[in-house]
C-alpha cells in the first residue's frame, strides 16, 4: 500500500496502517558509542521521528560508511548496510536508482563524507539522487582516536598535528551549495525540536537532501559547538533561518543580516535595518543561500546559521532513469532477446 503522505521524497514508498513506535525502529543490538556522545541524541531523534511517517519499515534502508556515526544502521531495525570508508553515497545511489520504492538514508561523518568520500558526496548532490544524507560533523576523527578532520579549524592541535593543523576547513553547507544540491540544511545534535523539523523536511524533499548535524565528540573534541549551545550566549551567535522571514538574531533580535549595497555580500548590521534580507530557501539562484553559509567564522563558528538553506525542486536521477526505461519500453516495446541476438546481419548454414 502506498499513500500520499504529503512528502514527495517518500512518494512510492509503501506505508503501513499499523501504528509504529520508537521501539519498532530499535534493533536488538547494544549501542556502543562512548557515553555522552552526540550520536545518541541523533539516533533517538531518528527512531522517534520515523514512526510518525507511517512508512513500511521494510522499505527503509540506512547505508553508512566508516566512522563512529557509521555504526548507526546497526541500531536501526530497518534494512541497513555498514559499508566502507567514504563510499556510502555510491551504494545508496545504486540502491535508490534501482529501487524507487525505498526510502534511502545515508549516515556519514566529516571524515567519511568530506575527506575520503568527498568526490562521491558532490556527485550524489549534483545528480540529485533521492537520498537523505545525515552528515555528522564533529570536526575530528573519532574512530581513529583524534586526528584533525577536513572540518577542523586551522591551527587545531591533534595527535597528527602537534604544532597545529595547516589546513583550511571545508564549510559543508557551502560545499553542498556549490555542488548543485537541491536541499541543504544544518542543525545541532542537542536541539531535538530543530533536528526533528529539519529531518522531516529533508525526508519530504525529493532529491538529495544534505543535513549537516553539528555533533559533539566528548572524547576527542569536546565542546566544539559549545559556543552555539551555551544557553547564556548562544542567541548572540546562532542564526536561525526561517523561510520567508527576515534574517535576524541576537537575544532581542538586535542583529540583522543585510546586503552591502557596494560589495553585494552579506554582513551583520542592526536588527532594525530596513535592508535586512528575507530568507528564501526556494530561490532558484543559490547565491544568497551561499552568502548566508559564509557568515560563520570558520574557526569559532560564531554566526553559524542553522535551518534550511536551500530547498528547490529538480528532477531526481532515479526518476529520470526510470522515465527513460519506461519510455524505451513504451516506444520500442519490451526487449526480445532472440531479436537482439540476431541483430541486423545473419546468415544460415546447413
Amino acid at each position: 500500500m502506498t499513500a500520499d503522505i504529503g512528502m514527495p521524497g517518500l512518494a512510492g514508498v509503501p506505508t503501513t496502517s499499523t501504528t509504529q513506535t520508537k521501539k519498532d525502529f530499535t534493533s536488538d543490538q547494544e549501542v556502543r558509542w562512548c557515553p555522552g556522545c552526540g550520536d545518541y541524541a541523533v539516533l533517538a531523534t531518528v527512531q522517534g521521528f520515523l514512526p510518525d511517517l507511517g512508512l513500511a519499515r521494510e522499505n527503509i534502508v540506512f547505508v553508512s560508511g566508516i566512522g563512529c556515526s557509521s555504526r548507526f544502521p546497526y541500531y536501526m531495525n530497518t534494512y541497513g548496510m555498514h559499508s566502507i570508508h567514504g563510499r556510502a553515497p555510491t551504494i545508496a545511489t545504486g540502491l535508490a536508482a534501482s529501487r524507487p520504492d525505498l526510502s534511502v538514508w545515508v549516515i556519514t561523518g566529516d571524515g567519511d563524507a568530506l575527506s575520503i568520500g568527498g568526490n562521491h558526496l558532490i556527485h550524489a548532490l549534483r545528480r540529485n539522487v533521492n537520498l537523505t544524507i545525515l552528515l555528522f560533523n564533529n570536526r575530528i576523527y573519532g574512530l581513529t582516536k583524534g586526528q584533525y578532520s577536513p572540518t577542523s579549524e586551522q591551527g587545531k592541535i591533534t595527535k597528527s598535528t602537534p604544532m597545529g593543523s595547516l589546513e583550511s576547513p571545508f564549510n559543508p553547507v557551502s560545499l553542498a551549495l556549490g555542488a548543485e544540491a537541491t536541499f541543504v540544511a544544518r542543525t545541532i545534535d542537542s536541539d531535538r525540536a530543530h533536528l526533528t523539523s529539519v529531518l522531516s523536511a529533508a525526508a519530504a524533499h525529493r532529491g538529495t537532501s544534505l543535513v549537516e548535524i553539528y555533533q559533539n565528540c566528548n572524547i576527542f573534541n569536546d565542546g566544539a559547538f559549545e559556543i552555539l549551545k551555551d544557553r547564556e550566549n548562544r542567541d548572540e551567535v546562532l542564526i536561525r533561518l526561517e523561510h520567508g522571514e527576515p534574517v535576524r538574531f541576537g537575544t532581542d533580535g538586535q542583529y540583522g543580516v543585510r546586503r552591502n549595497p557596494t560589495t553585494g555580500s552579506l554582513e551583520v548590521g542592526a536588527g532594525d535595518d530596513p535592508n535586512v534580507v528575507v530568507h528564501d530557501a526556494t530561490a532558484d539562484d543559490p547565491t544568497q543561500a551561499f552568502a548566508l553559509s559564509r557568515l560563520a567564522d570558520p574557526g569559532s563558528l560564531a554566526r553559524s546559521p542553522i535551518g534550511i538553506f536551500r530547498q528547490v525542486d529538480r528532477p531526481t536521477y532515479g526518476d529520470l532513469m526510470t522515465e527513460q526505461v519506461d519510455r524505451a519500453v513504451e516506444t520500442k516495446g519490451p526487449g526480445d532477446l532472440t531479436a537482439l541476438l540476431h541483430g541486423a546481419d545473419t546468415w544460415t548454414v546447413g
Partner: protein, 622 residues
Amino acid sequence: MTVKQVREIDRVVIRFAGDSGDGMQLTGDRFTAETASYGNDLSTLPNFPAEIRAPAGTLPGVSSFQLHFANYDILTPGDAPDVLVAMNPAALKANVPDLPKGATIIVDTAEFTPRALKKVGYDANPLEDNSLSAYKVHAVDLSGITMEALAPFGLTRKESSRSKNMFALGLISWMYGRSIDGTVKFLGEKFASKEAIRDANITALRAGWNYGETTEDFAVTYEVKPAALPAGTYRNITGNLALSYGLIAASQRSGLPLFLGSYPITPASDILHELSKHKRFGVRTFQAEDEVAAIGAALGASFGGALGVTTTSGPGVALKAETLGLAVSLELPLVLVDVQRGGPSTGLPTKTDQADLLQVLYGRNGESPVPVVAAASPSDCFDAAIEAARIAVTYRTPVVLLSDGYLANGSEPWRLPDVDALPVIEPAFATEPNRDADGNGAAPQFWPYQRDPDTLARPWAVPGTPGLEHRIGGIEKLDGPGTISYDPNNHDRMVRLRQAKVDGVDGIPDLAVDDPTGDARLLVLGWGSTFGPIGAAVRRARRAGLSVAQAHLRHLNPMPGNTGDVLRAYDRVLVPEMNLGQLRMLLRAQYLVDVVGYNKVRGLPFKAEELADVIMEEVGTL
C-alpha cells in the same frame, strides 16, 4: 573489358592500415561484415593507438585492422598478412616487417610525397627504389581517383579525400568477390541525414569495385569459398558485444533487472555504450564519477535485488578492490568484468594482455576469495557472462569475468543460441524467517548468514521484504545471525566458510582434453584469449606429425575438479600466457606439477607459427 582470372584459395589474411583518422577500423568492420555474410569463417584483429588523432602521417598514428577468412574453421586473425592496404608511407613502414615474401601491397601513391616520406624516415621513395621487390606492389592513386569520381558532388578536397577508404574497400571487395550491397545499405543508414556524404561514400565504394574490374593492374580475383561450419544461424560478433548480450541474457534468464555501474575505460567502454542502448530490457546503466562509485552503485543495486555488474579494465580493478572485498564480506551477487589491457599503471590502453589474473584472485586485503571465469574467444564472452552471473547469483558472491583487449575488439562468426535453451538462473530470494520461534515466546527470526547447507550460500533478502529487516556490513559477522563479532574462533570459521563456499562452486565441467591420437606426452594448457592461437599452433604441430594434447581453462577459480589429474597425466605441461607465468605459478603451487611456460607480453596475441615452434621444440626434448 579484360576477362579476369579467378583463382581459388583456402584462406587469406588482409590488413588495412592507415592514419588513425583514415577510417581503417570502419573499413575493416565493413569488409568483415561482407565476409561474414558470404559464409566464410573469420577472425579479426583491430590494432590502434591510444591517441584519438595522433599526428597525421607518423608511425605512432598508424591504425590497422587485420582480417583472416577461410573456407574452413579458423582460430586466429592470422600471423602475417597476405595483403596489406597501406594508405600512407607510415602505414607501409609500420607494417612491411610483418609481411611474408610474395605478399601483395596496395598503396595510395598520392600520399607518398617527399614530405610524408621524410616524416617517417624514408630517404628514398620505397615505391621507386626496389626495396619492395619481394612483394607484389600495386601503386594506385587512391586519393586522386576517388576525388575524380567524386567531382560531381561539389565537396571540398578534404571531404572527398575522406572517402578514399571506401574506394579501397570497394577494390578489395572486388578482388575477393565480396558483395558491397551490405555496405551500401550501411552507408545509407549511417549518413541518412547527410545526403552528399552518403552519396560520395557509395560512389567511392563503387568506383573502387569498378576500378578493380577494369584496370589492367589487377589481373586476378580470388575466391575463398564459404566454410562448412556446423548448421545454424550465424552472425559476426565482437567480444564486447557478446559480453553485453550475455549480461542481458543473464538478466532475462534470472528475472533480475540488470544494473551496470561503470566508468569509461579502454577497452571496456563499449560494454557501457552497448548496454545503455537496451533500456527496453529494463537495463539501467550508471556512468559513475569514478571506478569506486561504479562498483559501489552496482553493489547497492545488488543489495536491492538487481543483477549488479561493473565493467572496467586493469587500472579500474585496482580501484575497485576495496569494494570487491566488501562484496565478498557482504556475500552479495556481483559481476566484475575486467577487459584486460597492457599494464602496469596506464600501460598499453588499446593493447591486449592477460596479466590481471593474480590481481583479481589476490589483489585484496584479507582472505578474500572470488570465483573467476575467463572467456576464450569473442563469442565465448556471451556464455562466460551468463556463467559468471550464474555463479554470482547462486552463491551470493562477487565473480570476476576476465576478457581482454583482443577478445573485446576482435570478432568471429557466432552460431546463435536457442534462447530457450540458455541456462535458467534462480535468484531464490528469501521471503520468510529462517529461524523458528524458540519456544520461549520469541517470534521467528531471520538470520542473514544462515547458510544453505549444500552451497554454503547465505539467503538474499532484499529491502521491501517484511519481517526480514537486517543489517550487514564489512565488519566480521557472527556465523549465522550476521551481527558484529570480534570473536577469534568465529573469524577463523567465517574465513574458512567463505573460502569453502567458493571452492565448492558446483556445475563446473571437467577440464576436457583434446588428444586425438591418445598418445601425446605434451599437454598445452591455456586460459582466456590464447585459446585461438594455441589451437592453431597445436593443429600445425599435429600436421607436422606430432602428438600434442590441448586443454583450456575457463574457470580459473575454482578450477575444474580433474585439473590435477589432467596435469599429472602428461610428461610435460606447457602453459603459454601473455604474462610472465601467472597461471603457471598457480598450477605449480596448487598441484605441485612442474609446468613450463611460454610467456610474451607484447600487447598482441600470440602468433600460431611462433607457438607451433615452441610446441615442436618441447615435444622434441621429450
